[in-house]
Amino acid sequence: MADDDVRTATPRGPKLTADDRPREGVGIVGFAFGLLNHGFLLFWGLITTLPLVWAILSSFKTNGEFRTDPMGLPRGIEWDNFARAWTSANIGQYFLNSVIVVAMSLTMTMLFGAMGAYVLARYDFPGNRLVYYVFVAGLMLPVFLALVPMFFIVRDSGELLPFLGLNSYFSLALVYTAFSMPFTVFFLTAFFRTLPTSVAEAGIVDGCSHFTLFFRVMLPMAKPGIISLALFNFLGHWNQYILPLVIMQDDEKRVLAQGLGTLAANTGFRADWTALFAGLVIALLPVLIVYMVFQKQVQAGLTAGVLK
């Protein structure tokens, strides 16, 4: 067992050969365990993917096929499902609404969040801690308590300013922004604190204003944090359900998640299941693409939410 010393000293160093290996993890037991292990992992993998794969396959079927053989593979690809979903089920309009709202809300969330967090992280002023804790307190509040008054605030604001009010993209974007503030400020404050002070001070000495310093120096330096949080907020806003349900009551103004919910509720009557699944796939695609491209950052960004 001479290898032992080497191994404890350098964990990634030479591994024991098969003969030196102690007791367990060898032979039949180890093999059986490995198999069982993979069995469990594969089982959960199937449970995770099968319902989704089924939904995607169903979106390629005709309604006849779906009724007679719900579990079978599609015989061909029925593109018409997507066309029907896009136009007659109005998914196209909902998709557009979602894009408009999320574009506005994400911009505002990241900009306002970064501004607030930066000031809270890097400037000393009376009330700094108070403002910070008021933001962070929002992390624990259940959204449901706010629904009723929020509805009236939005409705009444429409009477003062016509571009606000119910069924307004901008109102919904503002609400998303407000509800994203606690976490965004919380996360970015921690992030801005880690950036070196010397650069900022050098900038000011060189005659930068505080504004230029933020936009030209600090914001670019905070890019990694901003990106993972933007991904987090994108998913949150794109998938939001309860807030648009309260604010977007006009059918033409519904966002994607909300529109899909209504479509699902009416699908039985319309007897058009495959269009529903096509709509589902359309809604799923942007998220799937973002996830595939930024897989590492998304996982890191979302789990950081719990850890920080």
Binding site: F125, M140, A146, V148, P149, M150, L260, A264, Q299
Partner: protein
Amino acid sequence: MTLHGSGRPAAQRSDGTDGTDDARGTGGTGETGATGKGGGVSHGADARRRRRGRRPGGPMQKGKYPFIIAFLLPPVGVYAMYMLSPYIQAIYISLTEWSGFTASPTFIGLDNYERMWNDDQLWTALRNNLILLIFVPVLTLLLGLFFASMLNVGARGRGGAVAGVFGSSVYKVVYFFPQVLSIVIVGIVFSYVFAPENAGGILNSMLGAFGLDGLKQLWLAEQNLLIWIVMVVMTWSFVGFYVVLFSAAMQSIPKDIYEAALLDGASRMTTFRKITVPLVWDTVQVGWVYMAIQAMDGFAIVHIMLGINGGVDGAGDVLGVAIYRAAFQSNDFGYAAAIGVLMLVLTMTVVVLFMRMLRREKVELA
């Protein structure tokens, strides 16, 4: 980290695992600062003290107040108007009777709360929320820890090392996917999983395929099953997230600890109980509280799968749906707000309870 000595949020996590963080050498937030200063951990404190001493009258002081105000105004304004003020108003609205059509609500004191006490449907919703609150976190936690340990320290043998199993990164990508999916899509897909066979009905078809026809049923028509189905769907959508979360924590456990345990002949179970679990306990604790908050929700799943009335005889109702129904179906805004206050109190209680429940000595890694 620089301006305020207090409240460095990352401290909560790094306290117990500072050593491992460094060993791991990932670009965690704590380190960026240290590397920026070109110093190690021990220099951090000195530098901080020096910088803080220098602050008053430093170059950053010039003209800072107009800047601070300009930068705080948009975030604070939006937050105060659309998030804070609703919460404050909600407490008042809960003491009123209001259909939303009159200009102002009528103050009725605690009548709404008394009404809640006598509302059987609300008790059902409350019971269901408690079921979700207990079972979703426990199940998610167990499955999450189980799969994460399988993925990260599952493979033993072959060279004596303890390592992740083959293909573990693929598993992580797949497991995590439900987390990025809209909960609405999850709800729709699962309403077909549990549908009768002639309307999709994946589960019944599967049972049929395995010759278990006796287990087939009209899942969503069975009162007693409703909340358990919701529980299963919520767990399904949460597990992957916790697998990834716990995986990150397990990756930071030095491999030689496992190898030492292996040499000492510790069984897999012992290794899991005595090494893995204690060393990821911090993460488990935080995840547990976070899960409790998530489990209080359930709105989208119930609303999509069971409808606004909470399914057959309202048996699958949850508080979130009850609030939405009271407000936007019955125009009973005062009552809706009162249920909201109940939910707030419940959430706060649960967070405090959950935090207490798992508190335990931290394991220090020297």
